[in-house]
Symmetry: D2
Subunit: 378 residues, 4 copies
């Protein structure tokens, strides 16, 4: 088994999500990190590269130089991970795609709808692949939930309740030098959305992934509770979905007592299910008229093929890093032509996320007006 | 200790909530059921009275006769429980109040706003008391949550999430002869609302009881999923409350896998708490920056005075019947002049519930328009 | 429906379990408390009787006088509840049985094996009934578990884990004037056992009730952790049961963080189940090779006939008082000849409990020697 | 950062724990697998090596050749993972230690006490390090529990309840060609113990790790429920520990409904705590007289230094693979001289585990006789 060569843009010292991507790329041994433009500061880039065992000649301070150089090398990278803040996604994504290098990009896609269109165009004209790390779709039981619904076990979907609650922004720590909080609450860097962009897009994506339904309209009530905060930190959103289904989406970063409580509940004509990210190895499923069943990752009824999504027996918990690794491993399969990436989030999910942010912001500005949600396809 | 004499209107053979009221009235030994107009059918009334050990001469088939006769007896009833379907509340409530007999009425208050005003007027001109059995306010930890918030332990409230999910109407069993389903889904009997009236009013009342905040506006998306159903069975509601707080309220009777999942979460500047009806003897409380604490009914920190709301040591669960009994026992105290009924739901809560139903129906008809919620006082 | 007339011995002001018996007797309206020897102090007895609305001429300070007088009255009591400390059970039990009055006695049966034999003899020669309030057997899901096992759904039982953990004796509060702790930790009053008598007998009884298996031998390691305490406050017990099943029993009153955690797990060849008293409305059941199912009180699969054991729909929790009321209500049926009391604990369970205490004490004294457990039948 | 070079003995196609070790070694990027004697079959060894990207010249079919060859290479391995069945641990462990190569060995240490002594001697005379993968000690909250107890927050320990329940051997699948079951239930390969060796040693080790207490005596009741099974599949064990503490240990592989339920509860004079492996990111802690607190991995009160044991923020679950990776990462630090391995299980824990198995077997053979547990030190 040969490892794919991976580069990274962003993710230098002091960053958060870059480290997650690196672990995720390593877990199944399918990638080897060999190049990086880890920081826009040349010094930080070089030091960060040294930390990670990247050879000095493959540490870049300019992602454009990196894209060109790596494309020209015979041992150049097969894929690049883009883990910069949102407003710095579009340029490197496009540069690497144009250089024919596959891109694994953190979410949300970018900062503006205009950028999103440019990325979509770049993907169309590139031979390389594009994967967006809506990583929660990599949880084995999330995928099992999707399959249960696709198989019709719940019947036509009626109602979904999705929430993603955190509390780390309960105080305005962006004013106290917390770097992660600072860029996420700066509208110029985040792209205008706060909680709706950072975690709301995850929730929205999960809702669509599991139910298989498109959103047709939404009504959003957004609010900033943090003192002096310029972006939303609490979002209350109603959704109307295909086939008459209705959903509620709650995203909050000020709900004290919640760490990363992302919880999805889906109810159909014939049954209901419930899953929560903080204990992701169990899911409940109730068929109408029967007792609730507790499904476990890898346990009874988990289904053929699902063992690809998990590494260890049921009862030994897998977590966030393994769900993230599933995305990386399937990206490797996609790049190597071993699968078609059907389960992988990509540009469509990215565009939908950007439209979700935009539609929420417009609805909220107009007193929660219901707005149609015209899902653009790439 | 002398027992108060209790009468009952409704609650004959085949009824549900009447039996609950009877148990609740007995648990603390403060009431003795001695009279009843248990059914509008004379035969059923008599048979039901015999079942319950009510003397034949105090079994009535007409509540007006009962009110008059009992008021005239030297050993007449001190209070009457009204446990008929919603659209049959107003007339008996008014009749007994006019007869000077205290009323303990099931919720929602009645079927129309006009009736509600009549009841309010009758209360004003009566010397008797009026209690509305929003029984969930009787749960000890619900009261403790209210006190925690009133004490400022959570700081200013920012967000509340309240839900009441059931699944017993997932199928349209009202078409199959299920009596409870039939009247609750008949707009003429329920008062127009379905889930919003039957359980939404409970959720709305609990939200106000615990947070101490009034609702200023709401936006409602109501839907009927049951085939041929004429009232809502799923309600998605956004609320804006005093002081800038925001809330989401979900009431559903088609969410398969939920029996009576009424769950309240409240988040303020300084902390958050969570309570769920299905396991009501625990509540979580998180102060910002500290570990979550699990409070138990009667356990550490439960507080002085709270022992009045519970009968047995922590770890021995109390349930729905005991919370209902708390309402009855405090009603006895109120009638005997031993307390002022400050914790008891009454006409104000009843009016608010009726306005809640009305406002939701109007908002939903106009595409979830935000409507002001002008809380009328009795 | 006529109410049975109930008397009570013990349970005056300051007592605990007497109040529980009174509520339990009232919940279903089958008993009316009309007489009592509520305290051995004449003053306390009279005051306590007045509190409870017992007529002065039916308040007694001597239970023997009460037994004789009530037996002689045409409106005398049908049954008496014995709620005194353990060492004061035998005499009143025997006195009332001899007077032909049915007895509902708190557990454990009494203080010594010799007393137990006397009680058994008195029962044999009396026309009245005897019920022992091992109340946990009244929980609906406990009875459902018993039925599941009796039906063979778990196959032959292999292993059971039963525990009852409390923490109220973590400190030696018996030295600080806590009345409940004082008599329970006084070997002269408790009968020699501490935790094994007070809660261990409940656990042991539940184990036999649910599994339907007799214990054949046990090995006990008892310990007193409380400073200066003379009875065990922690018991570690191994059991060998009929058919080769093995069990562990843990009873502790010093396990900080546990209020009344009584938890039973049973595993057979074909399946396993688990139930816990602190959230008694749910139980898990796993059939080998299938997903775990969550059974609820009154929910799917609860079974015909079970509705007799519960009063309200699933999702509305019942608790400790309702399980206790089930014992009283079936006792009423038994006394009225409406059932045979097959589910009710009685003298056999009482004798077994006494033998359990005795065998544990002897085993512990001899370094946890395995001792045969010859279950005597009454 | 330079990666350490890792070899592996065992872990070829069809094996289980080898794959876990490989992932664990990769997660933090501290090891690179470069050599292996992955199977005693030369063909399987070569194919397995190719699967894993090991160069053909570093795939060995004989671990002795591997030890010698790698020791002689200038780029030879720094450490070797021994992941063969129990009875094939001792020989390779000793061979690599003698070759000066550090050893990371799966548990239990080996198959016999005599082998254990030989391993201990080899460690003494080697300059290389020895780590035993009692991986559960790598869970962040397990370490936090140990620290809480070491800090005296629970006071003197009184009682501990430890259990490890599985159900995968409920049926005798060893007779149906299940490879993992076959060697684990073959006394010749497992070393005599069944559940006590496979999972009981984990439980026993965790008990000592967290409480910091040595076991002084034990009494074991072992049983084989599986048809035709030659080793124990259920173990009921009582323990007496230093300072008068008492413990119960339950290990079972036939408890249907349990996947890998390893649960530890510890109670002291001042408090109690509880942790369970299946949801390892939370732990409860109760200080006497206070409400129970829910501690989370990385959450409030997690403590300075603990961040070394975790990679991502609280609320994003880590699992079994990350706890295993903590062992590998600290082994890397130990080998590189960066820490002293104080938290790492090694030969002492290995010897204790072997003595635990031996003592349990002897006690069980003699009717659960209490046997002293003389902990040998290496």
């Amino acid at each position: 088994m040969k490892r794919l060569k991976l580069g990274m843009v962003g993710g230098g010292r002091g960053a958060f999500i870059g480290g997650v991507h690196r672990i995720a790329s390593r877990i199944d041994g399918r990638f080897e990190l060999v190049a990086g433009a880890l920081s826009s500061s040349a010094d930080t880039a070089a030091e960060s590269a040294a930390d990670l065992g990247i050879a000095p000649d493959r540490s870049y301070s300019d992602f454009r130089v990196m894209a060109k150089t790596e494309a020209d090398r015979s041992d150049g990278i097969d894929a690049v991970a883009i883990v910069t803040p949102n407003q710095m996604h579009a340029a490197p994504v496009i540069a690497f795609l144009r250089a024919g290098i596959s891109v694994i990009c953190d979410k949300p896609l970018c900062a503006t709808l205009a950028e999103a269109d440019e990325i979509a165009a770049a993907i169309k004209s590139s031979s390389a692949h594009f994967v967006l790390t809506h990583n929660y779709t990599g949880y084995p039981l999330v995928r099992h939930a999707r399959r249960i619904i696709a198989n019709g076990e719940l019947g036509a979907i009626r109602v979904a309740q999705i929430e993603y609650a955190q509390d780390w922004l309960a105080k305005s720590i962006e004013n106290e030098g917390q770097k992660q909080a600072a860029w996420r609450t700066d509208p110029a860097k985040s792209g205008g959305g706060g909680a709706i962009g950072d975690i709301g897009t995850h929730a929205f994506n999960l809702l669509g992934f599991v139910t298989g339904l498109k959103t047709e309209a939404l009504s959003a009530d957004l609010h900033s509770f943090g003192t002096g905060r310029q972006v939303d930190d609490n979002a209350h959103i109603l959704l109307r979905m295909q086939g008459g289904a209705k959903a509620m989406l709650w995203a909050s970063q000020i709900a004290i007592g919640n760490e990363n409580r992302m919880c999805l509940r889906v109810y159909g004509e014939k049954g209901g299910l419930e899953w929560s990210q903080e204990n992701p190895n169990v899911m409940s499923l109730t068929v109408h008229g029967e007792a609730k069943r507790i499904l476990t990752r890898g346990g009874a009824g988990f289904g053929d093929g699902s063992q690809l999504w998990t590494r260890i027996p049921p009862g030994h918990p897998e977590g966030y890093l393994e769900c993230f690794a599933n995305i990386y491993t399937e990206a490797a399969d996609l790049i190597e032509g071993k699968n078609d990436g059907a389960m992988l989030p990509g540009i469509d999910e990215g565009l939908q996320g950007m439209q979700f942010i935009d539609t929420c912001l417009r609805s909220a500005k107009n007193n929660s007006e219901w707005l149609p949600f015209g899902l653009k396809k790439s």
